[in-house]
Symmetry: C2
Subunit: 365 residues, 2 copies
C-alpha cells in the first residue's frame, strides 16, 4: 500500500522520525541515570508501547483503567495507572488488569479511596502496588505535598493488601511553558514539592523506590532532580505543534524530538482560485489549542476550521493545491488528535510499512 | 444495567427527550409540507437513523462515503452524501455503497469531478444520482450560485451515467446566529441564492425534484422557502449547549428541542474543599466552542478543562460533589463529542434501556 491509496482523513506516522525519537529519549534517560515509563495516553497504541519497552522503557503509564485493560490484554507489563481508581465499577475492572499484570501500580490521593481499594484487594485476595499522588501545582489530582502526603502513605502501609512503592507528581502545567530557562525555573520550583515530600517519606521510613513524574516538555529539566527515579514523558515519540513552539534548550524551536505525526487529507473542493477545501475538520484534528493545523511542505497555504468535516485552505492565486491533491498537516495537539482515529499508518517514505491499531482509543474509562 | 454501573466517561441519551425531539421534527416537516433527510454526521449511529426514518424521514444525509458505508451496511437507504466524492479511492468505496443502496445520491461542485465520477460509473456499469452543490455563503464547498451552477448541472446531464436530481445548499454559517429574527433575515438572504439557482434550473429544464438544505438552527426558517423540498437538520435529535444559546422564535432560549445528550463522569479526586476533579477532559468533550460543559442539576458547580483526561470543578465550600459522585454534563457541541465515543447508553430514567453502537464514529473518510 502506498500513500495515495490511504482513505483520508488518516493519521500518519513517519517511522524514521519516530524511531529516532524513541532512540533519543532512551539514550537520554540512560545517560542521566533515570528510568523511562512513557505515557501511553499520547498514542493509545500497543505496538508503540512495545517499541518503547523494546528500546529500554521499564513499562508504560496509562491514564485510565480502560487503557490499562487494552495494554495488558496486548501483553504490555509494568503499567502505572496515573489517575485515581475510584468506585466499585473502576476497581472491579482493575481486578481484570491485575489478573494479567499483577505488578500494575495505581495512584491514590484520598484516605477514603485507600480504604476502599485496600478492602477490595483483601476481598479479592490480591495485593495492589500503590504510589501516593502529590499535587505539584497543576491543580489537578494529588494530595497536598509534605505531611498530608506522608499521612496518606502511612494509611497505605496500614492496608495489608496495598503495597506502597513511592510517589507520583505530574507538573502538567509546566510542560508547555515557553522558553527553556523559564520552564526550567518554574518546573524546578514546583517539583521541589515532590522532592521535599520524598525526603519526608524517607525520614518516616516510607518507600521511595519509585518517584515518577515529568513530561516531554521537561525531559531535560526533571532529570536534574536526584530524587526522581523515572520520567513519564509521552508526546516525545510523535511530537506536535504545541511542543515545537515552547522553545528548546539552545534557544529557537524545541527540536529535541522530530515531528513524526501528520494528518493526511484530500482536497475535495476548489471553489475559488484562492480557496480550497480539505476533508479534515473538527473531527480530524483536536481543537483544544489556540492555533490550527500547519500544512507540511505547502508554504503560504493557511488552514482554518470550516466545520466538523472540512478545513479551509487559503493561498495566493497559483499557490493553491489542485482538486484531489493529498495534503499533510501537523496537528496542534497530538494526544487528543490520535484519540480520534482507530489506526495509524506507519510510513516509510511514501510506503505504508504497517497499520497499527490505536486499540485504546476512546478507552478513557 | 443502571446508571451507576456505566463505566465513565460515557455518552448518555435521555430516551424520553430524544423521542419527543424526533416526533416534534417529524410533525413540523409534515405540517410545512417538506421532507426530512436528517444529517447523520451528528449521531453516526445506525439505530438513531432507523428511528428517524421510522418517524417519517425520507432517508439520511452522510457527510462522507465512510459514514455511508456504515449506514448502508446497517440497512439504511436513501442516503445523500453531502461532501464531494473526489479521487479514485473515494469513488471506489462509493461503488460499494451503491452495491447495497443504488439510490444513494452524491453532490458535485466541479467539472473535473463530474467527468471523473461519470466515467467511473460508466466503467462500472452504474448510474449515480447527483445534486449540484451550491455555496450559499458558508465559504465551504459548492459552486457559485446562478449560471456557474447551471453550467455544472448541464455537465451532469451530459454524463450518461449520472442522473441529475436537483440541488443542495447548506448555510452552515447561519445555523448558530444568535437571535431568531437576525438568524431568519440572514438565512433567507443567503438561501435566496439557492432559490434563484433553482429558478434558473427550472428555466433551463434541469431537474429540481430535490432541493436539499437547512440546519437545526433554521428548521423553522428554511421551511418558508417554497423551492426547498427537504431539510437536512441533524443536531435537533440530541441538542447541545451551542444550539440552546442561539435564541428561539418566541425569544428566550432556543428550546424547540430538548437537551437529550449528556456525558456521564465520576468525581475521582477532591483535592480541596472547593475543587474536585472528574474523569472527563479534552477526550470526553469536543472543545471547538468557546464555552465549556455545563453540570446538570449541580447549580454553582463550574467546569473547566484540566487536560486530556480531567475536568476541574469549582464550587463554594459545602456545594462540591463528593468523591465517587456521578456527574452529568451537557456537551458544548454534540457532533464532535459523539464522535469521541463507540457507544451511547440509551437511558430511560436511571435505567439503561439499550446500548447503541456509534458505528460510523471515526469513519470520516
Amino acid at each position: 500500500m502506498i500513500k495515495t491509496e490511504i482513505p483520508t482523513p488518516a493519521l500518519l506516522l513517519d517511522l524514521d522520525r519516530f524511531e529516532r525519537n524513541i532512540a533519543k529519549m532512551a539514550a537520554h534517560v540512560k545517560a542521566v541515570g533515570k528510568k523511562l515509563r512513557p505515557h501511553s495516553k499520547t498514542h493509545k497504541c500497543p505496538e508503540i508501547a512495545r517499541r518503547q519497552i523494546a528500546a529500554g522503557a521499564v513499562g508504560i503509564c496509562c491514564a485510565k483503567v480502560g487503557e490499562a485493560e487494552v495494554m495488558a490484554a496486548s501483553g504490555i507489563r509494568n503499567i502505572l495507572v496515573t489517575t485515581e481508581v475510584v468506585g466499585p465499577e473502576k476497581i472491579g475492572r482493575l481486578m481484570g488488569v491485575l489478573d494479567r499484570a499483577p505488578e500494575t501500580m495505581v495512584v491514590v490521593d484520598n484516605a477514603e479511596n485507600i480504604r476502599e481499594l485496600g478492602q477490595a484487594m483483601t476481598r479479592a485476595g490480591r495485593v495492589a502496588n500503590v504510589l501516593v499522588d502529590v499535587d505539584v501545582g497543576g491543580r489537578r489530582t494529588g494530595s497536598e505535598p509534605g505531611e498530608p502526603a506522608v499521612h496518606l502513605g502511612r494509611l497505605v502501609t496500614l492496608e495489608t493488601s496495598l503495597n506502597l512503592r513511592g510517589l507520583q507528581g505530574y507538573a502538567g502545567h509546566c510542560a508547555h511553558i515557553e522558553g527553556y530557562a523559564n520552564r526550567r525555573k518554574t518546573s524546578h520550583r514546583w517539583m521541589s514539592r515532590l522532592m521535599k515530600t520524598r525526603e519526608l517519606f524517607e525520614k518516616n521510613d516510607l518507600p521511595t523506590e519509585i518517584v515518577s513524574g515529568g513530561s516531554s516538555g521537561t525531559f531535560n529539566i526533571d532529570c536534574d532532580l536526584s530524587g526522581l527515579t523515572e520520567l513519564q514523558s509521552g508526546s516525545y515519540c510523535v511530537m506536535d505543534l504545541d511542543y515545537r513552539r515552547i522553545g528548546g534548550k539552545g534557544g529557537g524551536d524545541y527540536d529535541d524530538f522530530e515531528m513524526a505525526l501528520t494528518v493526511l487529507t484530500t482536497v475535495v473542493s476548489v471553489p475559488t482560485p484562492t480557496m480550497a477545501m480539505v476533508d479534515g475538520g473538527l473531527k480530524a484534528f483536536s481543537t483544544d489549542k489556540p492555533f490550527v493545523p500547519e500544512a507540511v511542505e505547502w508554504p503560504g497555504v493557511e488552514y482554518s476550521w470550516a466545520g466538523d468535516e472540512h478545513g479551509r485552505l487559503m493561498a495566493q492565486e497559483g499557490r493553491l493545491p489542485a482538486l484531489g491533491q493529498l495534503m499533510e498537516f501537523f496537528p496542534p495537539h497530538c494526544d487528543p488528535t490520535i484519540n480520534l482515529y482507530d489506526r495509524i499508518y506507519a510510513m516509510r517514505g511514501a510506503k505504508v510499512e504497517a497499520i497499527w491499531d490505536i486499540a485504546a482509543r476512546g478507552r478513557g474509562q
